[in-house]
C-alpha cells in the first residue's frame, strides 16, 4: 500500500496547471495521430523529441503518456467509422465496430471503445504502480548474463513471434543491430562502421533514425501511393451508452483488461495477440449464452456477432489499452522497451541523461510516480475530451494527404537538424527514410529494427560486462539459473510458435470470412 501513497504524491505533483496543460496537449495530439492511419504515437513522439529537449523530463513524459494513450484510443475511431485500422492492435475492433456503425450503432461503438479504454487504462496503470516497483526491486539483483538473456528474449520474440514472417522479422532485427553498432566502441575506443565519416563516430542519433524510419519512410511510402479511392465514412453523432449496452460491455472490459495487461508486460508485448484472444473469448461466451438463454430471452449477443456485437468492440479495445499500460512495466522496471512507442520514449529518457533500468525506480522515483499519476490524469482527460469531440475527429479524415505529409516532412527535417545543428543529419534522415520506405515496400516490420537500434548497444554493454567478469569464457552466459530459465522459455516459444500462428490465422480467416458474408447479406437487404 506504500505504492499507493507514492502514487498519491505523484498525483499531487502532476496536478499543476502547467502539467495538466501538457497532458491535455498530449492527449489531443495523440488522438489526432491515432485517428489518421499510418501515423502512430511512435512517429508523433519521435517528431516531438527535439521539441521536448526544452522541457523538464517530467513534463515531457506527461505529454508522451497522454500521446500514447490518446493514440491508442484514436485508432479505434478510425477502425469503427472507416474500417481502416490504423494499427495492428485495432484490427479486431474494426471487425465488429464497423459493422455496428453501419447498423446505425456507431455512437455506441465509439462510446464503449472510449469507456473501455478508460477502464482498462486506469486499471492497467494501477497495476503498473503495484508491479513495477516490485519487479524493479528484484531486477536490481539480476546479473549481466541474465540481463543479456532477457534482451535476447525480447528481441527474438518481437522479431519472430509477432510478425507474419519470422525471416522478415529477423532480417529487420539484424539491420537494426547493425545500425546500433555504428560509432565508437565504448570499450576499446575503435570506430566501427563509420566509413571514415567523422560525424558517424559519435554514434547515430536515435532521433534521426526513428524519425527517418517512421516519419520520412511513411511519407515517402504514402507519396508513392498517393491516390486511392476514398473510403466511405459512416456518419456518427454524439457517442453514448444505453443501460443495456453498459450491461453488455462491462464484463468484456474487465476480461479484455485481464488479457491485455499480462501480454503487454511480457518482454515481447504487443497488443495483437490479447485483442485477438479477447475477441475470440467474447464471441465464444456470447454464443454459449445465447444457446443457454434460448427461450428465456436472455443473452442477445451471440447472434449479433458478425453483425456488429458491442462485446466484440468492448473486449478488444480494453485489451488494447491494458496492454499499452502493461508495456510500462518492463520499460520502467527493467529498461526494456517492447513496443515502438516505448522504445522511442526510452530514447527520450536517454536524451535527458537518465539511464533506463531497474535503478530508475529508486533514483528518479518522483519522476516515475508523476508519470504514472499523469497517465491516470491523461486517461480521464481522454474520456472527457473525446466523447464530445468524436464527430470532430472523424472530420480529420478529410485532410488531403499532400498537405498532411508535407507538414510531417517539415517537422521531421526540423527535428533532425535541431539535434546537432548539422546538415549532415538531414542527409542521414533521408537515407533512413529511404530505408523505411524500402522496408514498407518489402513488408519488413519496423519494430524489430527500432528495438535492435535501441537495445543493441545496451545488450552489448551487458555482454561485454559478463565476458570481462569471466575472462572471455562464454560459459558465463548460462551460468545463472534465471538466464537458463529464460533461454528455456525462448526455446519453448520458438517450438510452439508455428502451432500458435496456424491456429490464429485459421480462426482469423474464418472470422473475417463470416464478417464478409454478413456484410453481403446486410448490403443485399438494403437494396
Amino acid at each position: 500500500m506504500e505504492n499507493l501513497g507514492l502514487l498519491a504524491d505523484g498525483l499531487a505533483a502532476a496536478l499543476t496547471p502547467m502539467n495538466l496543460l501538457y497532458a491535455a496537449v498530449g492527449v489531443l495530439l495523440g488522438t489526432f495521430v491515432g485517428v489518421l492511419p499510418g501515423i502512430g504515437p511512435a512517429m508523433a513522439i519521435a517528431l516531438l523529441l527535439p521539441v521536448t529537449f526544452g522541457l523538464e523530463p517530467t513534463q515531457a513524459f506527461i505529454m508522451f503518456a497522454g500521446l500514447y494513450y490518446g493514440g491508442m484510443y484514436g485508432g479505434s475511431t478510425t477502425s469503427i467509422l472507416l474500417n481502416t485500422p490504423g494499427e495492428s492492435a485495432s484490427v479486431m475492433t474494426a471487425l465488429e465496430g464497423n459493422l455496428m456503425a453501419r447498423a446505425g450503432r456507431g455512437a455506441q461503438a465509439l462510446a464503449t471503445a472510449a469507456v473501455g479504454s478508460f477502464v482498462a487504462g486506469t486499471i492497467g496503470t494501477l497495476l503498473v504502480a503495484m508491479f513495477a516497483p516490485a519487479l524493479a526491486d528484484v531486477a536490481v539483483e539480476i546479473g549481466a548474463p541474465s540481463y543479456f538473456a532477457l534482451m535476447v528474449l525480447a528481441l527474438v520474440m518481437t522479431a519472430t513471434v509477432l510478425g507474419a514472417s519470422p525471416l522478415r522479422g529477423l532480417l529487420s532485427l539484424f539491420v537494426g543491430l547493425t545500425i546500433g553498432l555504428v560509432g565508437l566502441d565504448l570499450n576499446t575506443g575503435q570506430p566501427r562502421l563509420t566509413f571514415g565519416v567523422t560525424q558517424l563516430v559519435d554514434r547515430l542519433d536515435i532521433v534521426v533514425v526513428a524519425v527517418g524510419i517512421f516519419a520520412v519512410g511513411e511519407a515517402l511510402w504514402v507519396a508513392a501511393h498517393l491516390r486511392r479511392k476514398p473510403a466511405r465514412v459512416v456518419p456518427v453523432g454524439q457517442p453514448w451508452l444505453g443501460r443495456n449496452d453498459l450491461r453488455r460491455s462491462w464484463r468484456p472490459w474487465l476480461r479484455g483488461t485481464a488479457y491485455g495487461f499480462p501480454f503487454g508486460a511480457l518482454p515481447a508485448g504487443g497488443a495483437e495477440l490479447p485483442t485477438f484472444l479477447s475477441y475470440v473469448t467474447e464471441r465464444r461466451l456470447a454464443k454459449r449464452a445465447t444457446l443457454k438463454g434460448r427461450g428465456t430471452g436472455a443473452g442477445p449477443g451471440g447472434d449479433e456477432f458478425g453483425k456488429g456485437a458491442i462485446e466484440g468492440v468492448a473486449g478488444p479495445e480494453a485489451a488494447n489499452n491494458a496492454s499499452a499500460a502493461g508495456m510500462l512495466v518492463p520499460m520502467l522496471a527493467l529498461g526494456l522497451p517492447v513496443t515502438a512507442t516505448a522504445s522511442v520514449m526510452l530514447s527520450a529518457l536517454q536524451g535527458y541523461g537518465i539511464q533506463p533500468g531497474p535503478q530508475l525506480m529508486t533514483e528518479h522515483a518522483d519522476m516515475v510516480w508523476t508519470l504514472l499519476a499523469s497517465l491516470l490524469i491523461g486517461n480521464v482527460l481522454l474520456l472527457v475530451l473525446n466523447l464530445p469531440l468524436a464527430p470532430l475527429w472523424a472530420r480529420l479524415l478529410r485532410i488531403p494527404r499532400p498537405q498532411l505529409y508535407a507538414g510531417i516532412l517539415f517537422f521531421a527535417c526540423l527535428g533532425a537538424y535541431a539535434t546537432n545543428l548539422d546538415p549532415f543529419d538531414i542527409a542521414l534522415l533521408l537515407v533512413f527514410g529511404l530505408l523505411g520506405m524500402a522496408m514498407r515496400r518489402f513488408g519488413l516490420p519496423v519494430l524489430p529494427l527500432i528495438l535492435g537500434v535501441i537495445l543493441g548497444p545496451l545488450m552489448e554493454t551487458k555482454l561485454r560486462e559478463a565476458l570481462t567478469i569471466s575472462g572471455g569464457d562464454p560459459a558465463i552466459l548460462w551460468s545463472e539459473p534465471l538466464a537458463i530459465a529464460i533461454y528455456v522459455v525462448l526455446l519453448l516459444v520458438l517450438v510452439t510458435r508455428p502451432l500458435l500462428s496456424r491456429w490464429r490465422s485459421r480462426t482469423e480467416s474464418r472470422i473475417v470470412a463470416e464478417a464478409h458474408e454478413a456484410e453481403a447479406v446486410t448490403e443485399g437487404a438494403q437494396r
Partner: protein, 143 residues
C-alpha cells in the same frame, strides 16, 4: 458506372456533379438544357483521391439514386467516376472526349483564403473550358 450511350442527336451536356446541393443544382440545369436541345447528359463525379474520405465522391448508394433519376428523364446519359490530379481536368477531359456543347458546374462559396489553399474547381473549369460553361447556384431559379 452506368453507361447508356445511345448517342444523342445534338451532342452532350457535361455536368460536374457532387452528391450535395451544388451538384444537384448543376444536374437540374443540365437536364433542363439537354431536354431543350435534344442532347444527352454526361455526369462526371471526380476526386483527387488524396484524402482518406472525400464526401464529394459518391458512394454506390448515391450513384444508384443518380442513375435512377437520369433514367427517369428518358434522355441518353453517361455517368463517370474519375480519380486524378485535378477534378477540373477530369471534367474537361470528358467534355473534350464527348465533344460537349455545354459544361454545367455548381458554384460553392469560397473565401479568398479558402481559394488560395484549396483552389476552385469551378474557376478552373470556367477559365480553361473550350465550350460554353453554365455556372449555377443552388436555390436559384431554373432555366
Amino acid at each position: 458506372m452506368t453507361t447508356d450511350e445511345t448517342s444523342p442527336a445534338d451532342g452532350w451536356v457535361v455536368v460536374a456533379w457532387t452528391p450535395d446541393e451544388f451538384g444537384d443544382a448543376a444536374l437540374e440545369h443540365g437536364i433542363a438544357w439537354a431536354r431543350e436541345g435534344g442532347r444527352g447528359v454526361a455526369v462526371v463525379n471526380g476526386t483527387r483521391g488524396d484524402a482518406l474520405v472525400d464526401e464529394r465522391f459518391a458512394a454506390p448508394a448515391g450513384l444508384a439514386d443518380l442513375a435512377e433519376r437520369l433514367r427517369g428523364t428518358g434522355l441518353p446519359h453517361v455517368v463517370r467516376q474519375e480519380m486524378g490530379r485535378d477534378v477540373a481536368e477530369q471534367v474537361l477531359d470528358v467534355a473534350a472526349e464527348l465533344d460537349a456543347r455545354l459544361v454545367v458546374v455548381g458554384l460553392r462559396h469560397r473565401s479568398p483564403v479558402g481559394k488560395l489553399l484549396m483552389g476552385s474547381v469551378a474557376q478552373r473549369i470556367l477559365l480553361t473550358a473550350t465550350c460554353p460553361v453554365l455556372a449555377v447556384k443552388p436555390g436559384g431559379r431554373t432555366a
